[in-house]
């Protein structure tokens, strides 16, 4: 590992950073939106939808993320009908498939987190709201969920970092993210140790920054409990 190699590799690796960051935040954002909807469905016990959400959680927490990425990317090609549909331009796009897999995966884990937090909100929060003439849905949306999300934030912070690291699997379906560029560089130089050490350092830096941001958010969101 010499300085010259590092100076040479670093800019090449950083070309993938944008894709990694985009994929991370797009997945987190869509996963979060889905998780909020899923949590509502579970908490209000909307009958047929409740079962679908539970099945989704079972599937996406019970199988490896890599299997999910492969199935979403390679799976649809097996169905003639899908190839002719308007969805095909999206489903044949590795970026979109990686996003879909990561978002659904993150939604499943986040929903588990949020539902756990909703169930852990003290019964007194519910009773006080009901006794003030709020109905169940208003209580859930205006009181219980905001309380639960704050309490779930530390655990959700870990989930955010898992998603960021999980984006590296997208390189297996030809996506040129940070890991994709590292793979390519390694194939060309065989300087495996330097290339992947550098990639690791970049991931570590992102983890560090995200951890810091999450801590700040936590401090604000949980200010009430001090």
């Amino acid at each position: 590992m010499n300085l010259e190699a590092i100076m040479d590799y670093m800019p090449q690796l950083l070309k993938g950073l944008e894709t990694t960051l985009e994929l991370t935040f797009a997945s987190l954002f869509s996963g979060l939106a889905l998780a909020v909807v899923f949590t509502l469905i579970l908490s209000l016990r909307f009958k047929p939808l409740e079962w679908l959400v539970k099945a989704q959680i079972l599937l996406f927490t019970g199988t490896p993320l890599l299997v999910q990425i492969f199935l979403i990317y390679y799976g649809p090609a097996q169905f003639k009908g899908l190839q002719d549909s308007f969805l095909w331009p999206l489903l044949s796009e590795p970026w979109f498939c990686a996003l879909l897999a990561l978002a659904l995966n993150s939604a499943a884990y986040s929903t588990q987190l949020f539902k756990g937090a909703v169930d852990a909100v003290p019964a007194g929060d519910w009773e006080a709201a009901l006794a003030l003439g709020m109905n169940k849905r208003q209580t859930l949306i205006r009181i219980v969920l905001p309380h639960a999300f704050r309490r779930a934030l530390p655990a959700y912070g870990n989930e955010m970092i898992l998603v960021m690291k999980g984006t590296s699997l997208a390189s297996t379906i030809t996506l040129m993210d940070l890991m994709g560029y590292a793979d390519r560089l390694n194939a060309r130089t065989y300087d495996t140790l330097t290339v992947f050490t550098l990639a690791g350092v970049i991931y570590l830096t992102m983890t560090g920054i995200m951890t810091l941001v999450i801590r700040i958010m936590e401090r604000r969101a949980l200010a009430f409990s001090n």
Binding site: P122, G124, D125, E127, A128, A129, L130, A131, L132, G133, M134, N135, Q138, R142, I143, P146, H147, R150, A223, F224, S225, N226
Partner: protein, 245 residues
Amino acid sequence: MGIVVQGLSKAFGSTTVLKDISFSIPKGETTVLLGASGAGKSTLMRMLNLLETPDAGTMNIAGMNFSFSEKTDEKQLNKQATSLRRKVGMVFQQYNLWPHMTVLQNLIEAPIVQGTPKQDAITRARELLDRVGLTEKAEAWPSSLSGGQQQRVAIARALMLSPDVLLFDEPTAALDPAITNQVVEVIKELSQSGITQVVVTHEVEFARKIASRVIYLEDGEIVEDGSAEHFKNPQTAEFKAYLEH
């Protein structure tokens, strides 16, 4: 327009908790529901705002009529319960303030959900905080307040909807005896304002200080029911014994 209940009863599974309860409370009175732990006081009080559904009986409260039987339609009742609770406020032993919201947010939340313009709600909230002596605490988190302060916030929150009836379930049980007087003062002041109050407690001293009427419960039945005079002249041996224990 006080409270009239007739033949209320309630069982949880096979245990009967309340048996054929009837009483009437005139408007503006402060009635204490007294009795030992497990007598059914909380259950009875929670029926008055339908947090608990009676198995049988009728209830007239805050101008609304209810009649209960096996055929009571849950959905229908839930809707009515929501409007009833806007007129019948409740204060809990553990305050039940929402911890992630400031004092002011705790006060304005329900009125805003029910359509009060935010500015009006804030104005009213500040008036009520003044009234319970917590002007300075509007922006504080509940966890930063003492028990007595939290309970006064809870009372102010219940008053935000200008209820006709205010229910208190053991409002001082979690408080230091020295702090109890803060709550006594607020209840006394409210009784001047014409609001009907029902206060559950097992503390005789506290009851004496606030009551204009008393109902004494034992094992889910009313044993004694009358004016505050009954504290001096109990009519039943059971109530006499309870006062002296």
